[in-house]
Symmetry: C2
Subunit: 184 residues, 2 copies
DNA sequence: TCTGAATGCCAACAACTGTTGGCATGAGAG
DNA sequence: CTCTCATGCCAACAGTTGTTGGCATTCAGA
């Protein structure tokens, strides 16, 4: 398939959509505001993405790119994962968009649960002592990492915004480590 | 001031508002739906609370009722606080309403930061070794507790919903303890 | 019993939402 | 050049939102 002339427009819409969803959440991010950011007519958004729900689905496509844990020393997995999450979060609006939207939109919450089950869970299962514990352990890891992201990027609690990523990872790393590998 | 006949109506509106804000978030919780839940005309909501923003402010009034930490043994503060948070969250829609709304509404996020600064911070300052660390330590505590609430009550991650409160507190307690009192 | 205020409902408003259809414009193939 | 189709914009739609003013009813105090 040759490159179409509209591909640039499609991409611009996606970028604007991610920014709006990230800063405003699902309902307050309007098709009109997204289109305005992309310097485009609102009807183009509809033509290229069908409707708002599908636009969000396209904008919220995300790969955590979790590292191969078998290549990491067992004792360091917690801090490696903490650092990885923070970096992934800071470099891309998509996760913040997903988190903000998931608080009020059912489809976004679904997507979040999918991401949890399809990407985080397998990694946890590969690391933790008893695979039967994996869902609970993964849930705990998610609660700490999502809570950190919530305070830092969504609620913007001043001390968590000011804290350098390296320091945050240093605090949270041992927590993740314990949730992953602590006996019981 | 004598009890007015409208006090029951005012209270019913507040209850319905909390439920709606908790389950739908700020923008999807409409005045009309709240009024319908309270079996009342939407215009009454306006008369008694002025506008939607003030209604939310009234519905999101909340006291964490944090215990007096000086009466608790230093080593147990983490698990006591974890249990307290979970119980407080489960018995009242207000915190879920506040959390859901804070993800997309600026006033709600403000309220959340207030609650953090006015109620959690002093307790942390009274416990942690160096008072200068209090904001950061309190921020970390918030990130874990809010993350837990997010996964359990908002995103409804299956393993976190299924986990008994006592088990969740047992996992999270040591984390809180470390954020509060660990050196460095 | 009469009066005035409190309480409640109805109807409507302007603004905004997602969404749609039709019409212009441009480029590229023949 | 001509024809065609993808790309883009404009105008409008139906529905929902927060919000308002007016009218009925009910209660409390004289």
């Amino acid at each position: 398939m040759a490159e179409r002339r509209s591909d640039a427009t499609r991409a611009a819409i996606l970028v604007a959509a991610r920014e709006r969803f990230a800063s405003d959440g699902y309902e307050r991010a309007t098709i009109r505001s997204i289109a305005a950011d992309a310097d485009i007519d609102p009807s183009m958004v509809m033509r290229y993405y069908g409707n708002k729900e599908k636009l969000f689905a396209a904008a919220a496509e995300f790969d955590l790119q979790l590292p191969d844990v078998s290549a990491i020393r067992a004792q360091e997995i917690g801090s490696v994962l903490a650092r990885h999450f923070l970096r992934r979060w800071e470099g891309d609006d998509t996760l913040t968009a997903l988190l903000r939207a998931a608080a009020t939109n059912a489809a976004a919450a679904d997507r979040m649960r999918d991401l949890f089950g399809a990407q985080l869970l397998p990694v946890v299962a590969a690391v933790c002592p008893d695979p039967a514990d994996a869902p609970r352990r993964a849930g705990l890891v998610a609660s700490q990492m999502l809570g950190l992201a919530l305070c830092r990027f969504v609620l913007r609690l001043p001390p968590m915004v000011a804290m350098p990523a390296e320091e945050a990872a240093a605090w949270v790393g041992p927590t993740i480590q314990r949730y992953l590998t602590s006996p019981a």
